[in-house]
């Protein structure tokens, strides 16, 4: 595709619900990142994939957060039993290779937990 695509654009969940956020990276991009951006803050790293392998998940804030990229293209970020503090914009980014490549971001999914 022309760019990184994320869906849904907006998601409202009641506290305790599970949510799934989707990311379609640019075709052929090996590296895929998930970031969390709270209001007025810079993006915070969550997790990183190289193809289908999740090489770094050190930024996931709790075991309620889970990410996968089973075929090395589309990725899903799942949040179980959502809490109010999970409210944020979730950004997906991809790059052609792990290093020496600029990062391209999607428009993000704005999650509001009520």
């Amino acid at each position: 595709g022309a760019g990184v695509s994320q869906s849904p654009r907006y998601k409202v969940a009641k506290r305790g619900q599970d949510v799934a956020l989707r990311c379609d990276p640019i075709s052929g991009h090996v590296s895929l990142f998930w970031y969390q951006q709270a209001l007025g803050q810079g993006p915070e790293f969550l997790t990183y994939f190289q193809n289908e392998a999740q090489l770094d998940k050190s930024g996931l804030p709790s075991d309620r957060f889970f990410a996968e990229r089973p075929e090395g293209s589309v990725s899903t970020l799942k949040i179980q039993r959502t809490q109010q503090e999970d409210s944020a914009v979730y950004l997906c980014a991809s790059s052609l290779v792990i290093s020496n490549s600029p990062l391209h971001f999607g428009n993000g999914t704005r999650l509001t937990v009520t």
Partner: protein
């Protein structure tokens, strides 16, 4: 982890003015990128600049890796330049860290 400090935190300019945004970082880096987040939240990659100077139209960036800082220059600013500018140094290939950003407002 690496510490990233951006200055100034907020900047208000009159259209046509020039500005310099600064990014200091605490550790040596593999590369560094500058991003612009527009008012609709879209993050746009401006520069991939681990060292040296690059120019793209009215924007240019310089990274002095040995002194651990990078500068973003905006000349002849336009209202469409408004938004938040982030620098993101990368100490290791998969460890890109964002600063808190500089919020730029360009007034007509």
């Amino acid at each position: 982890g690496i510490q990233v400090e951006q200055s100034p935190p907020d900047l208000i300019l009159q259209e046509g003015a020039n500005s310099t945004l600064r990014c200091n970082f605490s550790d040596s880096v593999n590369n560094l990128q500058w991003f612009h987040q527009n008012p609709w939240g879209q993050l746009i990659n401006l520069f991939y600049i681990p060292s040296g100077t690059k120019q793209n139209g009215r924007l240019s960036a310089t990274t002095v890796a040995t002194e651990r800082y990078s500068l973003l220059y905006i000349s002849s600013s336009q209202t469409t330049d408004s938004g938040v500018y982030f620098c993101a140094p990368t100490p290791t290939p998969n460890d890109m860290r964002f600063g808190a950003g500089t919020r730029l407002t360009v007034k007509p």
